[in-house]
């Protein structure tokens, strides 16, 4: 009988410190209610400057043409689509954490899901910039939408993976935003209720959509969360699968590979978790939330990193094997020469990718390393560098030397405006994230409270007593 309220003591608590509900609210709402720190202002200024530089870079590209980037007749996609896939990949962790882990009833997700979801949304926003602005005539970009028009039966080409991307990414973005905002409602209401300033009361009153905490609200909130989680779960897999179709369905040796969908999804989860780590390690420090985002969370996520990193590693090996096994001269060239040959022009990129993505995460087999914040932060950056190079290697080192040797390219390296665009998306990302962390609770307040009674430090401590309780006493307690 005691099992009904039993929480394993083997699992360490997910909320440290002897917290009460009120204390939880105070801790988590503090960054929202306090004035932003000097550090926040510095970070925000840098982010806005980066964003401004990005906007300038893109403006140049729109006015003068894609020639402002160093792409050329052989390498039609370079940093633009590399960055797109990279950001999309990063945008995977949030939904995975909130949706799949919700369905799997993983209690630890509550500490990180809010920030991870926000990160997802901002990352998808950044990702979306690339396919939009990489177009030669962006002002005609609406042609990709299947809108009724006066040109007869003129539809977009539903055969094109790029069009699938449009639908996949926009769906994913919409569902992620809904999911995130739905989770935010009770928290916004909580802040509204605590607000003393008029403006704050108005703002949170507006954003809370009149949440009153009634049972009906909670009931609907829970069902909606579950439905959205159900919707988002296949999306986690489909978005990156479809992004990988951009490459997998083409004829380019090095792109035309059936392994891409699972490989891309694993890579996306890999890089997404790394990004969550980078952000949360800083966030918990700056906002003093160490008791909510515990070493336990970090540890669990590092386990996922080593798992997905190894899956990606196996994918790399399979690619090489298939390239050899197929005896297809073009494919073997793409893998054996353009990638695995370290002396080839882009060989260095392949080895950066291998060492960042496959070799270095193996240190997380050690528990000590998994729980070391410095190592984790360093590794999370390394993983995202590695994953950036993975996309770069796939895209550039495949097309720069494909079928006809006469068309093999000169060395492609980005121009200042390509780099500027990429930096600009960092600006966009951090501007959004900093605003988010200032104006919204970075941890899901209400969800933390859900688990406080089960995984809070003090409750775990009382489990010994719960075990001793007699069945009669328990039955009596349950009856009332």
């Amino acid at each position: 009988m005691a099992l009904l309220k039993y929480e394993s003591q083997v699992r360490p608590p997910l909320i440290d410190g002897n917290k009460t509900y009120h204390q939880v609210t105070v801790d988590i709402a503090r960054p929202v209610e306090e004035r932003p720190s000097r550090l926040w202002w510095i970070a925000f200024t840098i982010a806005v400057l980066l964003l401004g530089f990005g906007i300038f870079s893109v403006t140049r590209e729109v006015i003068y043409g894609v020639g402002q980037w160093n792409l050329h007749k052989t390498v039609g996609w370079g940093w633009d689509i590399t960055n797109f896939v990279w950001w999309i990949g990063i945008g995977h962790a949030g939904t995975l954490i909130s949706a799949i882990l919700l369905l799997f009833r993983q209690g630890w997700r509550t500490g990180v899901n809010r920030a991870a979801e926000a990160m997802t949304i901002f990352a998808v926003m950044c990702a979306g910039q690339f396919p939009i602005w990489h177009m030669g005539r962006v002002w005609m970009g609406f042609f990709v939408l299947p809108y009724p028009n006066t040109r007869g039966a003129l539809w977009p080409n539903f055969n094109s993976p790029l069009l699938w991307d449009v639908f996949a990414v926009s769906t994913y973005f919409t569902v992620s935003v809904l999911f995130w905002y739905c989770g935010l409602l009770p928290d916004l209401a909580a802040i509204r209720d605590r607000a003393k300033l008029k403006g704050r009361k108005f703002f949170y009153g507006l954003t809370a959509f009149g949440w009153s905490g009634s049972t009906k609200h909670w009931q609907r909130h829970e069902s909606l969360s579950l439905i959205l989680a159900g919707l988002a779960t296949p999306l986690v897999l489909s978005v990156h699968t479809i992004v990988s179709f951009d490459f997998a369905t083409s004829v380019v040796p090095g792109w035309h590979t059936t392994i891409f969908p699972p490989y891309f999804v694993a890579g996306a989860v890999f890089s997404g978790f790394a990004m969550v780590q980078s952000l949360l390690i800083i966030t918990r420090k700056v906002f003093r939330l160490e008791q909510y985002i515990t070493l336990e969370h970090i540890d669990v996520m590092n386990k996922i990193i080593v798992l997905t990193g190894s899956i990606v590693g196996i994918a790399y090996l399979s690619e090489l094997f298939v390239a050899w096994y197929s005896q297809n001269p073009y494919e073997s060239w793409a893998f054996m020469q353009s990638r695995a040959n370290i002396f080839s022009p882009y060989g260095w990129a392949y080895y950066i990718m291998i060492s960042c993505n496959v070799l270095s995460p193996q240190i997380f087999w050690s528990r000590k390393m998994r729980r070391n914040l410095t190592v984790t932060f360093f590794m999370s950056v390394i993983v995202n560098i590695g994953m950036w190079f993975e996309r770069f290697v796939i895209i550039v080192s495949s097309i720069y030397r494909d079928y006809i040797p006469s068309a093999w390219a000169t060395y492609y390296s980005p121009s200042i405006w390509e780099v500027g665009f990429y930096l600009g998306t960092f600006g966009l990302f951090f501007t959004c994230y900093l605003l988010f962390s200032k104006f919204f609770p970075v941890i899901a307040l209400s969800e933390i409270k859900h688990i406080l009674k089960r995984s809070g430090d003090s409750y775990k401590g009382q489990m010994g007593e719960a075990e001793k309780e007699t069945p009669e006493a328990f039955a009596h307690e349950m009856a009332h």
Binding site: G76, M135, G213
Partner: protein
């Protein structure tokens, strides 16, 4: 249990009315719609329909305001429409391309009064409709922004307009009056019968005057040698088509030597394979650099330029000629000479030896060789000698001396630019300053004109009447196809005026030819045809005498021995001698061998690079690193007392210890600031001048130098290459090549290879149906297809420029080519095979590459907006205004033929003023020049000018296809094969390497070509199942099998 009160919020705690209401409503399940009010939605203040109306209106208003502003361009109709002119319908007029001595019969396509395209004149017995890149590009010269627009007088180095011809005549007359020195007319070779007569009259009027002909690429050595051997100072006709064995001693007869269009056709006619009886000529090339001709040879032998004479003598000796003490040759060359001699001996009467040397002695030996192999009268004919080169080097040299001695009082210059292309330009310039009256008739302020006192520009050949006689008896006529754009006057008319004849040249011309032809009707017929030619006559022999042979051999034997490092000066296929130096089409055309554009450079052997820079190109990683960057090391080169810094480009197959530099680059005005406005905006920065390396040996100019020294500068210089990888990496499904022996022995090699590759998917026969999971579709009606014969293609690049002109392909300038942004729809890929370390072993192969118009095109299904799609006639077509520029198609094209408008190259963009970028993507002045209103007159109105941000590529000249179909439809008949429709590349090709037509028409030439050559037929990357509509015919070479064994 106590009555505990549980509450969720303060309202509930206080039990307020509001809270009760909320609690009461909490589980209300009706849809919220009904809870509004009883009046219903339509009675609301802004009901749903109104809302949609407002939404629609405001969206439409915003769209109209934001995007529908179109620039206003006025089209002004004719006030009085000329007869015979229908707007939109092109007219064709026969004319003649003249540049230097070269004369090629052409037909000008005139749309709405503007010539926009040059085609070869198929009635010409010399070219039979073939063209070269330079001929194709000449229409752009007409619209050159640097053309002089009125007569000028040079004052302090700057032009001052002379408002009328009368004023100009008066100025010149005043200046020439009372002189007692000599008057000299200096020109390039003149073949025109009328001009010659006018010049004769002018010279007669001015006693003591003379006419000096000066050719930048002179054939003086040959002319004088022929005088010695045959008693005639002329150049005979060559008949490569009659030769079974062709030996060229450094003559680039397919690219730049004498009459390349004619020779290419003859040469290829002996190399087209008849599958029923395979056979072809064998071509040996001895040379010091890799020329276009050498690249096509069956076997090449490299040597130093100083060994040329020795090889000729050696060959003569090996053929049994009486040569005393032939000079020693290296072992390698000895074997080569013996092998060649054996082949020549076996093909007596069907063999030909030509030499590109400008040395009299070498040419005398070559004449003896041709006598020995029975070429005289078979492959060499004296019946209709070539007239296009008549300049004698020593005449000009004498003139320069006379000028410096102050003996020349008046110098009239037409179509010659010695201040640039004479090796000792300084001396010429010094002499020119001593000439009292110097008049130039050149069309622009080139290096020579700007130093003259008076300049009266001559019109472009499309603006004037005229004639030319490239071969004796073969007349080619010119007629104006556009009214003169500027205040120009033919130089003949000036000469007539100045010798007291007030007739206009037009009248003179008409009277002359009417008289010759016997009436107006014949005259008009001749103008319509453009050519007047005698009936084809048999080859005639010249009478040979060997008296000078001994002297020549002795002179060669005593010539300077070879030095460690030597230099060859050559003409590039695109630029020639530099007469069209401001032509961006030609400057942007990749050199067939090096694939570089916009520059000249020293071509060196890979060994040179290895020895001096430690970069071994036979080592893949090093080669990779070297070739993916455009930077090339720069050396300081010294020879013949002249020194330049120049980048080096390693070219496999170059002779070891030899550097080769092209002329025609490095044009510069006396004040370099004036170069752009005087010579042309495309000129500044384009290469370095190599003419000063030429030397004068006392009788002729030598285009080579010995005792060359160099030093490394440590600098790099970026060259704009369009191709960086040079080997095929064993990809036999891209190019198939075999030897004639192999082909005879196993004609099924290509089909077997294909069958082997495709047998898993139904074999060749069923591959189309079984190679896919998807359905098979019939292709009824017209289905366009093309066949390219790799054996006929010599890589000359005429098709590239033909395509450029026909399809308004943008010029992007050096900066952009360097960034791999060139826009050519048609390119000619060049690959090397063989051992990089042994120049004699390196072979070169060309492959024209353009959109393959795949029936299962990978580009089509990836376009998100279907901007590229398939026509029912098998065309892969582009809808430019649907394209949003994702470049996915470019990535997915296995042939990489798609070209993206990276920047605003054409000013067709909707963003104004966006060609002024600095830093990344800076556009060269040449691009802006191409957007000048004058330059834009060359645009083909049938082809849309693409704007920035869209993809483009070969369309199979769809405008021509539509035109042809319309013509057939109007005449109510089926399409005539090879007549109604021809693509621009096909029409421009001098060797008929390209065949195009309807593959559903069993009688068409394309079907016939494919059936007749099915043993050589293949599709590039066939196994991808993209189903290209272009087929290639495998290359067959005819190397000496014994030598290969």
């Amino acid at each position: 249990m106590t009555e505990k009160k549980y509450w969720q919020n303060f309202g509930e705690h206080n039990n307020s009315d509001h809270s009760k209401k909320l609690a009461g409503d909490e589980f209300q399940e009706e849809p919220p719609l009904f809870s509004f009010d009883s009046k219903g939605l339509l009675e609301m203040k802004t009901p749903r329909r109104d809302f949609l109306k407002y939404l629609g209106f405001s969206t439409a208003a915003a769209a109209l305001a934001a995007s529908c502003e179109m620039p206003v361009r006025k089209v002004i109709p004719y006030l009085n429409k000329p007869d015979n002119m229908v707007p939109g319908v092109p007219d064709y007029y026969a004319s003649t391309y003249v540049s230097g001595g070269d004369a090629v019969s052409v037909v000008a396509k005139v749309r709405d009064g503007r010539p926009i395209k040059v085609e070869g004149n198929e009635l010409s017995g010399i070219t039979k409709g073939g063209t070269s890149a330079r001929v194709q590009a000449s229409v752009l010269d007409l619209y050159d922004t640097a053309r002089l627009r009125y007569p000028v007088q040079m004052v302090n180095g700057l032009p001052k307009e002379v408002t009328s011809f009368e004023a100009f005549d008066k100025l010149v007359a005043g200046s020439m009056a009372g002189q007692n020195g000599t008057t000299v007319l200096l020109s390039a070779t003149i073949t025109s019968p009328t001009s010659k007569q006018i010049i004769a009259a002018f010279l007669a009027k001015n006693p003591g005057s003379r006419h000096v002909q000066y050719d930048a690429d002179s054939f003086s050595g040959m002319l004088q040698a022929n005088e010695a051997s045959y008693g005639k100072r002329v150049i005979p006709s060559y008949h490569f088509e009659n030769a079974k064995v062709i030996v060229s001693l450094g003559a680039d007869f397919l690219g730049t030597w004498l009459s390349p269009i004619e020779f290419a056709r003859q040469y290829v006619s002996g190399r087209k394979i008849n599958e029923k009886a395979p056979g072809m000529n064998r071509h040996y090339q001895f040379e010091s650099m890799v020329s276009l001709t050498g690249a096509n040879a069956d076997q090449r032998f490299t040597h130093k330029p100083s060994e040329t004479g020795a090889i000729a003598v050696g060959l003569l000796a090996a053929l049994g000629g009486t040569v005393t003490a032939p000079p020693a040759l290296s072992e390698k060359l000895k074997t080569a000479v013996a092998q060649v001699a054996k082949d020549l001996n076996a093909a007596k009467g069907k063999a030909l030896v030509v030499s590109g040397s400008n040395n009299i002695n070498v040419q005398i030996i070559v004449n003896a060789i041709n006598e020995a192999i029975g070429a005289n009268g078979t492959t060499i004919s004296w019946a209709a000698p070539i007239q296009t080169r008549q300049g004698i080097d020593s005449d000009f040299s004498t003139l320069v001396t006379d000028m410096n001695d102050g003996k020349i009082s008046s110098l009239l210059i037409y179509d010659a630019n010695p201040a640039y292309d004479y090796y000792d330009a300084g001396k010429f310039k010094a002499g020119l300053s001593k000439v009292k009256t110097s008049v130039s008739f050149n069309g622009r302020l080139d290096e020579t004109s700007e130093l003259c006192k008076y300049i009266l520009p001559s019109p472009h050949f499309f603006e004037r009447w005229g004639d030319a006689e490239p071969k004796t008896g073969f007349i080619s006529l010119m007629q104006p196809v556009i009214a003169p754009l500027f205040l120009t006057r033919p130089y003949e008319e000036s000469l007539m005026k100045w010798s007291g004849n007030d007739q206009s040249y037009e009248e003179y011309f008409k009277i002359y030819w009417e008289g010759k032809l016997g009436g107006l009707e014949a005259y008009e017929k001749a103008l319509q045809d453009g050519v007047l030619e005698p009936a084809q006559s048999a080859a005639a022999a010249g009478s040979y005498n060997s008296s000078k042979l001994g002297d020549a051999a002795a002179a060669i034997a005593s010539a300077k021995k070879s030095s460690e490092l030597e230099l060859v000066i050559y003409q590039s296929v695109n630029m020639g001698t530099g007469a069209q130096a401001n032509n961006p089409w030609l400057l942007e055309m990749p050199d067939p061998i090096s694939r570089g554009t916009w520059d000249n450079y020293a071509m060196v052997s890979p060994k040179f690079l290895k020895d001096n820079y430690g970069i071994d190109l036979s080592d893949a990683p090093q080669a990779d690193k070297f070739e993916v960057h455009p930077e090339r090391p720069v050396i300081k080169l010294k020879a013949n007392g002249y020194e330049i810094t120049i980048p080096i480009v390693p070219v496999p197959g170059s002779a070891e210890g030899v550097l080769a530099i092209a002329v025609a680059y490095g044009r510069e005005s006396a004040d370099p600031k004036n170069t752009a406005s005087f010579i042309g905006r495309a000129v500044p920065g384009a290469g370095r001048n190599a003419y000063p390396f030429v030397s004068f040996n006392g009788s002729t100019f030598e285009w080579s130098a010995a005792d060359v020294s160099f030093e490394k500068t440590g600098d790099d210089y970026a060259i704009a290459f369009t191709q960086t990888h040079n080997t095929l990496e064993g990809r036999t499904s891209v190019i198939k090549e075999m030897s004639l022996g192999q082909f005879i022995h196993n004609p099924d090699e290509v089909p077997d290879e294909r069958e082997d590759e495709l047998k898993k998917f139904g074999g060749i026969e069923n591959f189309e149906k079984e190679g896919t999971l998807f359905g098979y579709y019939d292709k009824p009606g017209i289905h366009w297809g093309m066949s390219i014969d790799l054996n006929s293609c010599i890589g000359c690049g005429a098709c590239i420029i033909a395509c450029h002109a026909e399809n308004n392909v943008a010029v992007v300038g050096k900066n952009e080519v360097m960034r791999f942004h060139e826009m050519h729809w048609m390119r000619i890929d060049r690959y090397y095979t063989g051992d990089y370390g042994n120049p004699d072993n390196v072979q070169t192969i060309f492959q024209p590459m353009l959109c393959q118009h795949c029936d299962n095109a990978p580009c089509e299904n990836v376009c998100p907006v279907s901007a590229t799609n398939h026509s029912s006639e098998g065309l892969n077509q582009m809808a430019y205004n649907r394209c949003i520029g994702t470049r996915y198609c470019e990535n997915n094209c296995p042939f990489k033929v798609r070209r993206f408008n990276w920047e605003d190259y054409t000013q067709a963009d909707s963003f104004p003023n966006n060609q002024d970028e600095h830093g990344v993507g800076r556009l060269n002045d040449a691009v802006l020049m191409m957007n000048d209103d004058l330059s834009r007159m060359v645009l083909n109105p049938d082809v849309v000018v693409r704007s920035r941000g869209v993809m483009e590529k070969c369309s199979f000249c769809v405008q021509r296809l539509q035109d042809g179909k319309l013509k057939a439809k109007k005449e109510n008949r089926p399409l005539l094969d090879m007549q109604d429709v021809r693509t621009a590349c096909q029409q421009g090709c001098p060797t008929e390497a390209i065949v195009f037509g309807n593959i559903n028409d069993s009688k068409s030439k394309i079907v016939k070509t494919r059936v007749d050559n099915h043993h050589r037929l293949y599709h590039v990357l066939e196994e991808l199942h993209v189903l290209p509509n272009i087929s290639y015919l495998a290359k067959v070479r005819n190397p000496d099998t014994e030598a290969n064994a």
